[in-house]
Amino acid sequence: MKKEKKLMLIIFLISSILLATHEGEFWPFSIYPMFSQAGNPWSRGLVEDVQDSSRADLWDTKPLHVVEPRTLALKEYGIHEIDFANYISKTKVWDNTKLNGLRSTFQIDNYPGKMWMATRVVGHLTEQDSVVIEAIPMFLFTSDTTIKNPRLFPEELND
């Protein structure tokens, strides 16, 4: 048992150093911090299947129930919903590289006639302990264009 003990102590030491210097994650070592910060607002993503791009409320932030019936099932298009959610909620600067990355994930060029709205969804607790969920339109993708929400990106020219 001496060798096992020594080896376990060494590996434990190495894994502790790796975790301490890599924010608790060095796969497969982890301190499993998911869901540790309770009550914080969250941000996810969904894709709205837009039928009419001339709609007056196209770029409005809406309650979830308005967008829910028009939500695209990403699984049917081979898009990983968590990757998409992280991409749209964690990207801080939307330069051309980031936008093209999202386009290539969607592969919308293969679906002429489709209009997909990449939408950020945010949720928070109110002081009355109820959960409020809102959908924020970010980018409208068609097979040949990418249009940014003019209310969020007023200074920038759209492609």
Partner: protein, 302 residues
């Protein structure tokens, strides 16, 4: 105390019995099956990626984007397959598991470079790493010895992981973590993930129950925190099965309330957490089967 933990982790009842051989070998086969599932599933997804959003593990030091827009991930999956199937079936050059573990790490950090840090494959990652470490550091010992080391190694990190998860919650939020309104917020969050994946979402009975009563939602979180906190009890043979039952309950609860099912994790808890060896040894034919040459040579080990 450390000696007691080490003894509980690495000492098997009747180590040469049929039951112990079957349980250890089943663990090895299980690791291989899930290694293949993950390595190949990720192999065909990685080429679709274009940029690194969040580097994990070794991707902090090497630009893992060289895996993107080409077939490197597929070649990597081929290598992982070769380096794990050979020691599994031929039972020689078992140190190849260590190389498979390294390549599997690269496959993981390439696949999960998009901001998500999933933990569903962690136990499989630990398992292949443990098989590799056992083979490298105990290469002069029997396969049984190497497998017992791997088994104990995983149990240690399994228990540690759950307990540190509980501590993470208590440190980041405090005891108010169990407040049921937090579960409401998470149900809303997972609602979006399921809606985004399938285009629709329906609440199940436990979600409806939790959303209807803060007390019930708080009880669900309290059970989860309690089960996690005592994760370290899996280090001790006497309490292992009881803690494993709690942890399986925890994962069923996570699945029902937040639609996150850690399949590989849960199956491995069942495989490793119960004294299957003792139960198999109680079968009337176990002693005769343990002497069977064919079984020992081709399927189990000597």
């Amino acid at each position: 105390m450390i000696d007691r933990i080490i003894k509980n982790l690495f000492e098997f009842e009747a180590p040469d019995s049929l039951g112990t051989k079957i349980q250890l070998r089943a663990f090895e086969v299980f690791t291989f099956i899930y290694l293949m599932i993950y390595a190949w599933e990720w192999a065909f997804y990685i080429p679709r990626l274009s940029t690194v959003v969040l580097p994990l593990g070794l991707a902090n030091y090497i630009d893992i984007s060289f895996f993107f827009n080409n077939n490197i991930s597929v070649y990597n999956a081929v290598l992982i397959t070769l380096f794990s199937v050979y020691p599994l079936l031929i039972k020689k050059q078992r140190w190849l598991y260590a190389i498979a573990a390294f390549l599997f790490h690269l496959q993981y950090v390439a696949r999960f470079s998009q901001g998500e840090i999933p933990h569903s494959a962690n136990l499989v990652g630990f398992s292949i790493l443990a098989l590799g470490l056992g083979a490298v550091f105990f290469r002069d010992k029997s396969i049984r010895h190497q497998l017992i080391f791997a088994f104990g190694f995983i149990l240690f990190y399994l228990g540690l992981g759950y307990t540190t998860a509980a501590f993470s919650k208590l440190i980041a939020t405090g005891i108010t973590w169990v407040d049921g309104k937090h579960l409401w917020l998470w149900v809303g969050e997972k609602h979006i993930d399921i809606l985004s994946k399938y285009g629709e979402f329906q609440l199940n009975w436990l979600q409806e129950l939790a959303l209807s009563s803060k007390g019930i939602a708080t009880s669900v979180l309290l059970f989860g925190l309690f089960s996690e906190f005592f994760g370290f009890m899996v280090w001790f043979k006497k309490f292992r099965w009881a803690e494993i039952v709690l942890l399986i309950g925890l994962h069923i609860g996570i699945d029902l309330t937040m639609n996150i099912f850690f399949a590989a994790f849960t199956y491995q808890l069942i495989l490793m957490g119960f004294p299957w060896n003792r139960w198999i040894n109680r079968l009337p034919s176990s002693q005769n089967l343990n002497k069977n040459e064919f079984l020992n040579h081709w399927i189990l080990f000597k």
